[in-house]
Amino acid sequence: MEQDHICPLCGHAIPPGEPDCPRCRSNLFLQPDTILGLTLAGLLVLFVITGFAVQAYLGKYAALGQQWYRRGTSDLNAGHVDDAIVDFRTALIYARDDENYDLSLAQALIAAGRLDEAQAYLTSLWERDPGNAQVNLELGRLYAREGNTDETLRYYHSAMYDEWPGRDPAEARRAVRFELFRFLMQHGDQGEAKGELIGMAALLPPDPALYTQVGQLFMEVGDYTRAAYEFEAALKLDRNAEAALVGGGEAEFHLGNYDAARRHLERALRQKPDEASTRQIRDMLDQADLVLATDPFNPGLKVAERNRRVIEAFKQAVSRLAACGAPVTTGAAKGGPATASAPASGLAGLANRAGALQPQVREDVLTQNPDLATDVMNFVFDAEQSTTQGCSAPQPLDRALLLLASRRGSSEK
């Protein structure tokens, strides 16, 4: 064929009988070995050039990514969530491997309520780096918003045990626990919440503010004993910590340790708290004072004082019953103290008990029969507790008696 006699390299005709083109054969730069050598040299050159070009290109892209990321962050901070999402997405075009950008985008999507999208980004991030505490935390928050307790616990716990580069890990983990505690409390899972608090309390550094904070959270879950312990720990580090003094006073108050509560509250007042706190402390202090002044079982009381308090309490209970529409008639019920201590059925029953007790509630009888004081006070507590609902608001003395009643219930338990 004609085309077989044309050199494919130089395009000139190959003379008949020649195996290849003599022109190319004699040209050193058309020799295969030369071509191979030049190709290898060209490869090296291209490698170097590409290296520099890629460096410049990636640098440019990284700069663009940062530029859009900064813009997104400022948009997010300004509350322009939708703009921030677009900015973060743009940033990701230029630095698609940057986990911070992914994370920020996910956070912006969460802020915009676009949870499905956020979840896709976060899950993708998590699959790339399951040990990323921040990603776990965001996933935990996401599931918390969806109300999925199991997944929330899973990711929050992962966040707690993962590494926190660039942050104090203990502080970060504590913050995660606080968040988790809040979530569990909102979902009414007080037991789990208390468990998280106990875990956190065991790892607290010597910081009175932290002890106080944990103490307050223990108060929220109703564990006044642990709360009091945390407040005491805080006060050991800073004996004048106002919040710890108030918290300690409140915890002791709830535990029925009114003396201790009073001590803490008085010290708190000496720290000159703000007006609202002062009012709150004073209310509590007055209440504690009243309870202490009302309690007939306070150890160390003289018999006359005890009898006086029993008689006062009885009078208050009778007047409370009367105010609630169950007037007491002396001798209304037949029988002695045994009848009086029988379980009351409604206000009428209590009025009957009061009528039966009334003739005996005298100083001389109480002195002669010390057990009668217990019967009388049982009636008082029953009457006060029965009249808390459906009657007018209790007076301060009624409240004090109620507190004593509740302490009695606790101690009986």
Binding site: L28, Q31, D33, L36, V86, E117, A120, T123
Partner: protein
């Protein structure tokens, strides 16, 4: 060495004429002498052509990887210049950039690089089947420049097909320059094609499969090793520069219940029909635009750019290859309604861009369309069946492979491509189901595959590799005839044989020679021997007895044709028991079978 030796050229060079080289060396300058001495080093390593071919595969892979890295950077930098860095570019840029770039691209295509128009896959195939592996080097430069400009300006095309051609073009140039044999030059373009595609997709396995499925069409051990080496080399280079992350990041997938596969089957149906529509639109528009007066070809890409820009005003996601949009769809950014719309407008934009003659590939657009469609179908299905566990991202991923399989008609490549692009192997079952359905639908409703259609539009008749794959091979059993004549045995004497053949009207008789195989005698020859008084000779000892080749029933009929030669009959024997005759073939039987197959069922 004081004097340069007249060393023989390496295995790649033709032998020089004796005497010619010393004269040439004697006349060379000092500088040239140093160059020649430098080359002595290379000659230390003597390679046979097979070894050199493998070495070149690595070299081509590395070069292609570098070129594709530069190509990707060129596209992205062009995009930054022309459209800016924002996700949704400014309206003026969106309208003007693709149109103005279209003008420049059209000028370059018409005046400087006329060969860059069209599909790179077909041009590589043309190099293999029609041009002895020749792809002009300026195609490499042309594809690089025009595609970077077109795709970077926002034309709805992808960089994979041009990358493939850049690799193939470089490989072809290197093979020719190194003067390797014509057979190897023909095969070296696909090697480069695999390297280019692998670097563009960051998917070496899918690229190897694509080149085998669509360019070479056969599993040839000789070239497979080179293709794999080239693909791996290019991917290693690309990852070294641009990172090893898969193209898309998808959350891991877990099939909740086997019944969910029905949802993916539905996606396969939708994807299959979308692929058919996509292909038919190209089939309808491209020839019409090609037939327009040649002067209009200067403005067709610009007009296409204007239309694509107008679409981009409302849907900026369709501009360019659209990888970032695919990634966002996989993360559930879009509603199913918007995903459906994006799939539709991307089909329109791509058909317009490609048909206008703007150079660029359709791999990325088909992935885009598939991802959007998958996400839309997934969104609808999840709306009506909230219990489905697959995420929208999972459906988008499966959708990518589905439309790819239906549109490009490469079922194996599409499966592996999805796995490699996402780095997610847990999704293979839905991908296989959906792809298979789309492929079957596409074959049913679009008889001519895309690449064959494009090559015919360009006036070429390249072999249809899908047709080759599907071609039923005629086998010996389809022409086999029962042997009815008496069967003779080597131990029989001539007289005995003649007695046996007394009543037979046939002329040719098979002789079972036991371990020696089969031979053939004629009645006439036996009678002649008997007349010569040689009736006592056994048939085994007959002078000039020709041993017959044999075939088996399952062998291709083509083999029988090659073996039968001038023999009137060819024994067909059992594979397990060679003494057992299954039948015979004559040349007439073979030709009859071929004629029957051409006449159709």
């Amino acid at each position: 060495m004081s004097e340069p030796t007249t060393s023989p050229p390496s295995g790649v060079t033709a032998e020089p004429k004796p005497g010619a080289v010393p004269d040439q060396i004697a006349n060379e300058t000092q500088g040239r002498r140093w160059v020649r001495r430098g080359l002595e080093f290379l000659r230390l390593v003597k390679m046979r052509e097979g070894q050199l071919f493998l070495f070149l595969a690595v070299l081509i892979g590395v070069f292609s990887g570098l070129l594709v890295v530069c190509f990707q950077m060129a596209i992205n930098t062009t995009r930054l210049w022309l459209l800016g860095s924002a996700l949704a570019p400014a309206a003026v840029r969106v309208i003007l950039a693709p149109a103005l770039a279209g003008l420049v691209v059209a000028f370059l295509v018409m005046r400087v690089f006329p060969q860059v128009r069209g599909s790179g896959v077909n041009q590589t195939k043309a190099a293999v089947y029609a041009s002895n592996g020749h792809i002009p080097f300026n195609t490499v430069a042309g594809k690089f420049i025009t595609c970077a400009l077109a795709i970077g300006s926002g034309q709805s095309l992808g960089p994979e097909d041009p990358s493939l051609q850049i690799g193939a073009g470089f490989a072809s140039w290197l093979g020719r320059r190194l003067r390797i044999s014509r057979d190897k030059v023909r095969l070296i373009a696909p090697v480069g094609a695999a390297a280019g595609l692998a670097a563009a997709f960051n998917a070496p396995i899918a690229s190897v499969l694509f080149v085998i499925e669509e360019v070479i069409g056969r599993w040839s051990a000789g070239v497979l090793g080179a293709i794999v080496l080239a693909a791996l080399s290019s991917v290693v280079v690309m990852r070294n520069f641009l990172g090893a992350e898969p193209l898309f990041r998808v959350t891991s997938y877990r099939l909740g219940h086997p019944s969910e596969l029905v949802a993916y089957a539905v996606l396969g149906v939708v994807g299959g029909f979308a692929a058919v529509i996509f292909t038919r639109l190209i089939a309808a528009l491209r020839p019409r635009l090609m037939r327009l007066p040649w002067r209009t070809h200067y403005v067709q890409p610009a007009i296409a750019g204007l239309v694509v820009g107008a679409i981009g005003l409302a849907f900026p996601q369709v501009l360019g290859a659209g990888y970032e949009t695919i990634d966002q769809a996989m993360h559930g950014q879009y509603t199913w309604q918007l995903l459906g719309i994006l799939a539709g407008v991307k089909i329109i934009a791509t058909v317009i861009s490609f048909s206008s003659g703007t150079p660029g590939g359709m791999f990325a657009p088909s992935l885009f369309i598939g991802a959007m469609l998958g996400g839309a179908v997934g969104g609808v299905e999840r709306h009506f069946f909230p219990g489905l566990t697959g995420s929208v991202g999972a459906y988008a991923l499966v959708g990518m492979g589905t439309v790819f399989a239906g549109f490009l008609r490469v079922p194996m490549t599409s499966v592996f491509m999805v796995l490699e692009l996402s780095g997610n192997y847990s999704i293979i079952v839905p991908v296989v189901i959906s792809n298979a359905i789309a492929y079957v639908i596409s074959r049913r409703y679009q008889k001519v595959p895309l690449f064959d259609m494009l090559s015919r539009q360009e006036g070429m008749d390249l072999p249809s590799l899908e047709a080759q794959r599907e071609e039923s091979t005629l086998r010996v059993e389809s022409a086999l005839q029962e042997y009815r004549a008496p069967l003779l045995h080597g131990v029989q004497s001539v007289a005995d044989a003649l007695r046996q053949l007394e009543k037979s009207a046939d002329q040719h008789f098979l002789v079972d020679q036991g371990a020696q195989g089969w031979s053939l005698v004629t009645k006439e020859r036996l009678q002649m021997l008997a007349q010569q008084g040689k009736g006592g000779i056994s048939l085994r000892d007959l002078p000039d007895s020709t041993r017959l080749p044999h075939v088996h029933p399952d062998q291709p009929l083509e083999m029988a044709l090659r073996r039968i030669g001038d023999h009137p009959l060819l024994p067909v024997t059992n594979r397990v028991n060679l003494d057992r005759l299954e039948g015979v073939l004559s040349l007439e039987d073979i030709m009859h079978a071929y004629r029957a197959s051409m006449a159709g069922p």
